[in-house]
């Protein structure tokens, strides 16, 4: 009874932990935009009335105060822009938010102008003001990418340009806090840049979702344990370490707690041990493929607490379970030659999808770039900033080449260096011409790309894709109308077929691999201090049922020997079991759950000196989260071990697959390979 009580308490504690862990997340995500967010919005919209923003007071504000005010306004604008997509465009709320954003933008521009006037830097005064970006973090990434050369002071086009605008100067100041992305959990789920956005658009259109992880990886205690919820052993074990824990056994006729029991087993593959010994990353593809034979062998170690009928002892007899499993046929290994057809299909499908992605990406990028509002409110100033950055980079390269020229006596090399300097100087002239042009960077975006100048093409390729699409994508999106956004979605919808085809190919490949046959040899011992020791060896065969995608057949056949402590009491005989496994629900990684599985199984035991025993079992395995499942089973037996009567018992427990859990938590063993240099410059 104590064991049962402890088990129930454990379940409750674990369940509470899971629930309590999950609750804050769900609570944060379930906030209604019209509820709490609405009240937050009110506070954001009231900022415009802040006394500190009044023009009469602004003149007396210090630079630090301006920064703080600027940051606060930017924060509120960012929050409102995140809130905006959650409101119906037809609602009055939407209009009010749009109006507030406009007011905040006006105040931000006003602050920029004041800061511009306050600074004495001629460059700042002469440069047009660049609109503040939505995120200081992403803005910081732009200059951060302008790093120095590893081997020389040569700088790329991204190399530390001079401050070119008041906004940049404000952002570059450490005192300026980052925008409040962290305080809004919803912001985390929003695509932070164009690449994330377009991938998510594609994902959203492609509905097929299949979770990772072979259902055949056994993490339950082996069927040799009397309390196991698994009647039929499966043919493979977890790649890393699997832990099976049965918390309680419940008998339908257990009025006197006679069948309380607890069992624990740990399953680990020789591969996991070998990787740990070698200090290798088990997910290193080279190590994974080179050592695939190690994955054929796995070990099981555990115990099974039993209480015999009529036993008055408080402590149950603990049986030790030990064994190993060897995969004789492993058709499911990713490295098997039989799976190469799938590899070729995937390669072809991926190539087709990537080609299509190129077309889709170009169409969307062109559409956004040619948008009039994007042009006027972003490109107009960003283009000139880009040119200034390129100019700084070209000058730095010239400086480096001049140093190289001064240090070298090699005539041939010097001639080439001089030619390079001349080429860069030509580029510099082009950049200066653009900056001095009366058009101020207002190139004609309606013309085909082929008719643009080199500088305009450079900006389109490198500037807009980085500062616009990657660093300021939310701002760019905010400049698009609803119709524009619909058009973007239409681009994706119209070109989705190759992505759907690839998903189908991947799913088909996954199903094919999962249905490949596996044959394993399993040896297991169960030794007891008081009772009989048991030794079992068996062959396990498993494969998908042809013509189905969610049904699997498992067959066990083996020999069992029971070594009795009574002279002449030994028993031996054969066992056979079969199981049909059905995947009830589709696999769904969206909520990080494995599918629900339903099992029907039978087992027969023919032991010498005993009447044959037969069992039938129905089991359902319910996922709690990725890597943790609750198996619940109902078993009918024609007889118990000692009493010639039928028995029906139900059981439940937890199974934990650490391989899945570790993948969830992105666990990674130390890799000697990763520490070693992997790159040598190509000549």
């Amino acid at each position: 009874m104590k064991v049962l009580f402890r088990s129930i308490v454990s379940i409750i504690l674990i369940s509470n932990f899971i629930v309590l862990t999950a609750l804050p997340c769900s609570a944060q995500r379930s906030v209604s935009p019209s509820g709490q967010s609405g009240s937050q919005r009110q506070s954001y919209m009231a900022v415009g009335d802040m006394p500190g923003v009044a023009a009469s007071n602004r003149a007396s504000l210090s630079m630090e105060a301006r920064r703080a005010e600027y940051s606060a306004l930017l924060r509120r604008k960012s929050a409102l822009k995140r809130y905006l997509p959650t409101v119906s465009p037809d609602s009055a709320d939407y209009q009010a938010v749009v109006k507030s954003i406009g007011e905040l933008e006006a105040k931000l521009e006003s602050l920029e102008r004041e800061a511009l006037a306050a600074t004495s830097l001629p460059l700042l005064l002469s440069a047009p003001s660049r609109p503040m970006t939505e995120s200081a973090a992403t803005a910081a990434a732009w200059p951060a990418s302008r790093g120095k050369s590893a081997k020389s002071p040569a700088l790329s086009r991204n190399v530390s340009p001079s401050p070119v605008s008041t906004a940049t100067a404000l952002q570059a100041t450490p005192a300026l806090p980052a925008p409040p992305d962290d305080d809004d959990p919803a912001a985390e789920s929003q695509p932070q840049n164009y690449v994330e956005w377009i991938n998510r658009q594609i994902d959203n259109k492609v509905s097929a979702l299949i979770n990772q992880g072979s259902h055949a990886n056994q993490t339950e205690t082996p069927s040799e344990s009397s309390n196991s919820t698994s009647l039929v052993d499966q043919s493979s074990s977890s790649d890393l370490i699997g832990v099976g824990l049965n918390l309680a056994g419940l008998s339908s006729g257990a009025t006197n707690d006679e069948k309380e029991a607890t069992s624990v087993s740990v399953t680990t593959s020789a591969y996991a041990l070998y990787a740990a010994i070698k200090g290798a990353d088990p997910l290193d593809p080279v190590f994974y493929n080179k050592n695939n034979k190690w994955r054929r062998l796995s070990f099981i170690l555990g115990y099974d607490d039993e209480k015999e009928e009529g036993d008055d002892a408080e402590t149950p007899d603990r049986a030790t379970i030990a064994g190993f499993k060897y995969l004789i046929i492993n058709g499911r290994d990713a490295t098997e030659k039989e799976n190469e057809d799938d590899t070729a299909n995937i390669r072809n499908g991926l190539f087709a999808a990537t080609v299509q992605f190129g077309e889709l990406n170009a169409a969307i990028r062109n559409f956004i770039f040619r948008n009039e509002r994007v042009r006027n409110e972003f490109i107009k100033t960003d283009f000139l900033d880009f040119i200034r950055g390129e100019l700084a980079g070209a000058r730095a390269r010239v400086s480096t080449l001049e140093q190289r020229l001064a240090a070298s006596n090699n005539a041939e090399e010097n001639a080439r260096t001089r030619a390079q300097i001349a080429a860069f100087q030509g580029d510099i002239k082009g950049y200066q011409d653009v900056l001095e042009s009366p058009t101020g960077g207002l190139f004609d975006i309606t013309q085909p790309i082929s008719q643009w100048t080199q500088e305009e093409r450079d900006y389109y390729a490198a500037g807009f894709t980085t500062s616009g699409l990657q660093n300021n994508f939310q701002r760019i999106l905010g400049l698009l109308s609803d119709d524009d956004r619909e058009q973007l979605e239409k681009f994706v919808t119209d070109q989705i077929n190759p992505f759907v085809d690839l998903t189908k190919t991947l799913r088909k490949s996954l199903e094919r691999i999962r249905s490949k046959p596996q044959l394993s040899f399993n040896a297991l011992t169960k030794t007891r201090k008081k009772g009989d020791d048991e030794y079992t060896s068996e062959l396990i065969y498993e494969r998908g049922i042809p013509g189905t995608t969610r049904a699997f057949l498992t067959l066990n056949g083996g020999f069992k020997y029971k070594n009795s402590r009574l002279i002449g009491g030994d028993t031996r005989g054969g066992t056979a079991a079969g199981q049909l496994q059905f995947q009830v629900t589709p696999e769904n990684s969206l909520i990080s759950k494995s599918p629900i599985f339903l099992y029907f199984s039978t087992e027969g035991n023919w032991m010498s000196g005993l009447k044959p025993s037969y069992k039938a079992q129905t089991k359902v395995k319910i996922p709690v989260t990725d890597g943790i499942e609750i198996p619940i089973s109902l078993t009918y037996s024609n007889r118990t071990e000692l009493v010639d009567e039928s028995d029906v018992r139900g059981q439940f427990g937890f199974t934990i697959d650490t391989a899945k859990l570790l993948r969830v938590f992105k666990f990674k063993l130390p890799s000697t390979r990763e520490r070693a240099p992997v790159f040598a410059p190509i000549q």
């Binding site: 991204n158 690449v195 594609i202 990537t354 080429a423 990684s589």
Partner: protein, 135 residues
């Protein structure tokens, strides 16, 4: 559902201006590092029938390719190229994609892109674009 994208060190350029014509012969180095059993990725140049880089057997941890390669990749001043990386996660759980910019003396000028795509969903796919303007 889809794959997760992580940016390392803020290196997330969408494109680059590459001086890859004589006398300045800068080049890019594409590197794809894989975690898992078997990678499925392809680096495709828009309009080009064959991939620039993919993962034929034998499997490796890191695949890399210089671009442009003299005699293989034809580039002229004013050209614009789009290189898109496609990744599938059937037998791999993570791809790290790095683009480095070198001068003709093999001096690293900048790391333009350093991103990681990861997924636990074997039917996931991900795509990473990059645009090059040749001077």
């Amino acid at each position: 559902m889809g794959a997760d994208r992580k940016i390392n060190g803020g290196k997330d350029a969408g494109g680059v201006v590459l001086r890859a014509t004589s006398p300045i012969n800068d080049y890019l180095l594409y590197k794809v590092t894989v975690s898992g059993a078997q990678p499925h990725f392809t680096l495709v140049e828009r309009g080009r029938p064959l991939p620039l880089l993919e993962a034929p057997p034998p499997v490796q941890k890191t695949y890399q390719r210089k671009w442009p390669i003299a005699g293989t990749d034809q580039v002229s001043k004013g050209d614009m190229f789009e290189h898109n990386l496609g990744m599938a996660f059937l037998k791999a759980v993570k791809y790290r994609y790095v683009i480095e910019h070198y001068d003709d003396g093999d001096n690293l000028i900048a790391v333009l892109k350093d991103v990681e795509w990861s997924s636990q969903n074997p039917t996931s796919m991900a795509f990473e674009p990059f645009v090059i303007s040749v001077r």
